[in-house]
Symmetry: C2
Subunit: 369 residues, 2 copies
Amino acid sequence: MSEVYAARRTRLRDHCQAGGSQSALISRPANVRYLAGTDPHGAVLLLGKTEDVLVCADPPDRRPTEGRLDEALRIHPLPGAGGDAAVAAAGLAAAQGGGDSLAVEEHHLTVARHRAIRSVAPRLRLTDLGGAVEQLRIVKDEEEISCLRIGAEIADQALGELLESILVGRTERHLALELERRLIDHGADGPAFPTSVATGPNSGRRAHRPTDRRVEEGDFLSVCLGATYRGYRCEIGRTFVIGTSPADWQIELYDLVFAAQRAGRESLVPGAAYRDVDRAARQVLDSAGCTEGLAPLTGHGVGLEIDEDPQLAPAAMGKLDACVPVTVEPGVHFPGRGGVRINDTLVVRPEADGGPELLTITTKELLAL
Amino acid sequence: MSEVYAARRTRLRDHCQAGGSQSALISRPANVRYLAGTDPHGAVLLLGKTEDVLVCADPPDRRPTEGRLDEALRIHPLPGAGGDAAVAAAGLAAAQGGGDSLAVEEHHLTVARHRAIRSVAPRLRLTDLGGAVEQLRIVKDEEEISCLRIGAEIADQALGELLESILVGRTERHLALELERRLIDHGADGPAFPTSVATGPNSGRRAHRPTDRRVEEGDFLSVCLGATYRGYRCEIGRTFVIGTSPADWQIELYDLVFAAQRAGRESLVPGAAYRDVDRAARQVLDSAGCTEGLAPLTGHGVGLEIDEDPQLAPAAMGKLDACVPVTVEPGVHFPGRGGVRINDTLVVRPEADGGPELLTITTKELLAL
């Protein structure tokens, strides 16, 4: 595995040198993990002129859920509790070659840390690395996709088991907790994000936080969950109807959101513009008059974070590549009445390879539970 | 409740004006909640020259777990997904009175946001608010302490129920999940931090992340958990021994950590230096030769965050006031063998009021389970 991390660091180093920086300081945790294999609390990674160093207070743990440290990296321990790893790393960078420039993640580093770095290494010219590591992270290798696939299987299993149990009378919060327990039972590191269970008037709300409302006959029930597996996070969302037979409005609304979600999925081809994927799903809802309260995005990348680049949104710039995992998650919510949300994680693949690979395979038929 | 938030904002405004700033931009979520009553995702609070405004993408929810919005505050909605609340708030500040200065939380604001603020409001002089809100938050009012007290009762209940169940053969991860479920059952918003369950060689490790190791006869079992209640977070930690009778080394080690923890608790009086509380506990362990691998701190403040000011550590500056809730949590861990950690949340009270108020009342006798 170590070669993977070293290769990623080489790509980033090439990028920095093309931009005129000899070294880079990586502080965003998911970026540290991507490049070092692990991200102990508070750790930063120095891509140095002469040596790469992981600076952290606690030596990294070797358990698989915390990642596997690239053994080629030198570990620089921080003494005591008050030390700032970013400041210590800047000191190391200055020692490696005074007068050079250091690229930092200005979108993550605080003003106070930036100032502390300037004062400990006044001769280093600080530049902005921007989202360079986030850009590298967009296209996944097969090892990463394999972690996402296992995570999706775990989420499918947890959801499948829940559907076999009695739901009426149970609260959103208890259902969410049970799903999270089942994720762990099936081998997840943990939930990929706070599990969302929404019933009745709450159904269809994006990122709804579970309440004490109980499931009732006739409700829509929307569930959104995901597993983290070896650091990689996926997402699945489904909406069900409670009771023997859905009402007409429920069937119509479900069919509409299903059609929008399918349109989004089918537009996932290498080379498709992010905004076109969004538009494909969005215009199905628009044309049915569901324009109020639509979410600002139809989907997003997933990986070491649950909400990564790209954003599938009307103003997003860029095009999909093969091996980019994204969610497709349109939804409609009518205040006071509820709604529908359907969410899959898929990997963009060329048509010659069979088109988009669906990771979350739970049925999207409207189940009456 | 609204008066409480308005009064807090007035105190902060006085502080800012004494420092020469007419307005302040609060971005750290716990600080926003402290001053506005709620902190929707991504929200910032502008303490303006003429008006206070909460800038957020999603209008705040009114559920009690999310806090109660101060109704006197104006809400300024952010259009779309790409907007940055801090930048929008700086624009409002500039519109309220151009040419003035705006104090920002440099320890929270990123370099990129700081730069975006400068470009949207180039005539505003940006100054550093520092940890002014964190300082205001140290001393709690009785309403806040009441939330901590209820949270502690919930944690005590969850722990008490776990102790009545069979423990041998269950994994750390499952015990942690069960504790978290019980916290919710008893009315917590959620866990105050990831519940830690550590068995055998893991026992006594600070912030140990639960593994698949199963509880065995003869183990030490250390548990650390806390409830969030109306946003306030408390912490309790206990160590037990599994089996009918503890070994001699276990009894000795337990007595030592208990003595250290008691020394820390007994030194919690208004006016005591933070470092002296730390020293009181630490020197008990030191004098027994347990100097290796001691945590850098003996305790810390709790409130809207689980790890707040003050830090009870050797180099900490400052003195305790009445109505400051802190943890006292010394521990010893021998690699490969395990250890003991005992942790209470207490509120500093004057001796005339009965001395420190213990919120976490589960027994600290060494229980053999």
